[in-house]
């Protein structure tokens, strides 16, 4: 093959290998894993290239479960409206729903994870309270000077605390993980609430951003947790839509309201 400047590297994926009698995924025999490895642990294998230990399994399953179902979100409405027009393509309706998992909603996982992974020194070990406080002040100042809200704080319904975030933090500690990123998000919540004058609890995506850091997931793929989880939830919404449709009503009401003006 001649030298060239673009695309010269080999086409190579090391995720799966198949022979007539076997399939391996990240070096493990898939057939052996069927019946013994759960979906959540297999998802961990896809992300970390090894199976989780018991504590990692509990924590990872918890954060992904927390992302599956958030009710009648714009994403769920989108999947249902798409199925109204293209009932032949369940994959299209799920894909449409996933496309709304961007910067506004699920992207805050990424934002919170990025804060934790950028500001906490990689070799810091467990920071003490004064270290956390100093770091949080600096982050709050940085975001204030950019005029940006801190991602992962605040919730329209869940106040004074987001019960899911609380539970995920408790699990992290029970399972014996270093809770530095969690304490940082909690301190950011305290400072931000004080500065703004209203309650800004760590919400579920903020919590998951912190826990992604605990688990070692790079912030720039943390959004993938939301995408994989919500794909499950959207199939659930499409199943309900077949039995108890609401998309046609949402459409009719929007169209009628618009045309009456």
């Amino acid at each position: 093959m001649p030298a060239h400047t673009r695309g010269g590297s080999p086409v190579r994926s090391d995720i799966a290998r198949a022979t007539p009698s076997t399939v391996h995924v990240h070096g493990l025999d898939l057939v052996d894993m069927l019946g013994t490895v759960s979906l959540g642990d297999f998802a961990y294998l896809e992300l970390f290239r090894r199976l989780p230990d018991k504590s990692e399994s509990v924590l990872f399953n918890a954060i992904v479960v927390a992302l599956v179902e958030h009710g009648l979100t714009p994403s769920a409405l989108t999947a249902r409206l798409t199925a109204l027009g293209a009932p032949e393509s369940l994959q299209g309706a799920v894909a449409a729903g996933l496309l709304g998992l961007g910067n506004t909603f699920v992207g805050t996982i990424e934002g919170a994870a990025r804060i934790c992974q950028t500001y906490i020194p990689a070799d810091a070990g467990r920071l003490d309270d004064r270290g956390i406080q100093a770091l949080a002040e600096r982050i709050a100042d940085d975001f204030a000077s950019d005029g940006q809200p801190i991602p992962g704080l605040g919730h329209p319904v869940h106040k004074p605390v987001d019960p899911r975030a609380q539970k995920l933090f408790a699990i992290t500690r029970e399972q014996g993980f270093d809770d530095t990123p969690i304490r940082l998000m909690e301190e950011l919540s305290r400072i931000s609430s004080e500065r703004r004058g209203w309650l800004l609890p760590v919400n579920v995506t903020g919590a998951i951003g912190a826990i992604s850091t605990v688990l070692g997931l790079p912030w720039d793929v943390a959004r993938g947790l939301g995408v994989m989880a919500r794909a499950i939830g959207l199939v659930g919404h499409l199943l309900e839509e077949r039995q108890q449709p609401l998309a046609a009503s949402v459409w009719t009401r929007a169209e009628r309201e618009s045309s009456e003006q």
Copy 2:
């Protein structure tokens, strides 16, 4: 609200309910489930509106795990090529990959499930071998007269048997489920191989179509199993693409080959 002909039904989803201090999913407290319910069992809850028992959990997790990762499929290539153009949108790359899960590949789950759910009488109970054989002959005749191949049979690599299908069938039986749909697919494989003169083993999607029937999942949402599972696998491919890219090479080789002609 005035009477109207379209969209008059209420907008109502019963999947999730949130109050300031709680979230319920299908009537169960989400916070209680965090840390105790695995991702696979929660996916079962989304589809069946209740948590699985132990046997259902083992079997359901096994079939979804079997669908997560199929290597460098058109779907995986699509996700990677999309990330090359739009690295800012991981959700877009996953969505693009899911859009290829249509009639050709994952749709065969649906096809096999449809055969099982259409031909096996709903109140039949466990069919004996003669019943299965008669049914399979009828199905094979019906498909032959339509000139259609039977979905869920045959595999380009896995011969003489698809080891994943074999394992999933073994799990179904070990867990004590009625194996009528499995025996029907096995008999269809035997008849088709004989009629065609080459081996047409039950493949993994054919197996999962049969097991969807065992679990009571309607055939017209069975494709959703593939969609939710593959969303996980596609995130894994996008993670590898960031570290060991191949999309640019696939593109360059295709473009060069085309332009040399």
Copy 3:
């Protein structure tokens, strides 16, 4: 290259050719076409591999223009709801909107074109009124025996006629095309209205299905006309959404109505 059973054909696309100083599309110099060929005529080139003559240009532009904008459809709502969640990805919002252009709405173009291209004999020439009537009776009987409605007939708002369909038919005739497919759709409208007892005018997608046949576009890509046209309209909706947002209201009302029950 060694023989193999799958994917052995060369990778070859004949649409575009580029050299350092030129680009050709379907054999025509792109640079020469810039400033002289309109977008609609270039779209015709993509579909028919040659530029349209004057009459073809008028008719083709008319049918695609008629598909661009249909107001606050499920597809437009979907694009807007997606932009609410992922404002960073305009391409994702358009893609989500397009995914709803399936069997229910735009797919009726395909259905009407399929009727015309299946039932009208390829070498029939212009059918006389008795030929049209006999064909329409047969089609109506075939659909009635399948319990299916005839695609392309009926409209919730536009009665007794769809003014867009009327105009498209008038243009076809003014431009001197054989109007056999149009007369077939009109006769199907007459028969169906009579049999059902209410008005079922040829609607705009039914008209475009007939005119696709007039222009020689195969029915199984006729859906593509709607997809390319609506991509334009969706960009318009996303532009309006930035200036005069409505997606958040649609979401809030749906969520509130659901949670009040």
Copy 4:
């Protein structure tokens, strides 16, 4: 309706209005426009809420035509690979292809338009050569200090100039528009080529970014030009794929190369 903090604004779209006998788009009678307004001019109406004059029409059609077809791009490969898996959903294959029109490729239109609209003072009128030169030096310095390449410059194939960019610039001038943004991009090309030591011509997306500014299209929707244009091109690729398939070969070669390693 009670006051509320989110979604309280009315649901209102002013793009289209329909009555039983008419449809208006941006205040113009759609039926009157069928047969007289071309697809490109109608696209202009969607973006600018009025029809273009003759010069605007020539220029707008030219830039959109230039974006329709770029050969066997990652986006075209994606659409074709998606159709391989889901032949039932043409809309899904087009949507998948559009999802790759992100920051890497079509996003450079946005980048170039943003430079023009950010750096050229809104009330500057036509800048003289010294003004252009000073502005270009400042931009080049700003991008250099951020370590970023200037979007819209350079092309792997088209050297020393991109013939499409040249032609679009000529049309802009022939049609009598203020060419300040064009001269800015040309000066940026000159400075960048000099500083880098190799040729960095204004490419077609850089040209279109400049011309978007000439036409008054806000940079943050300039990406929409590429999305609407490419939707047309992707339908063309899907039509060719049905007649002369290449996706299966692309897939097979990638999979084989990967599995041989």
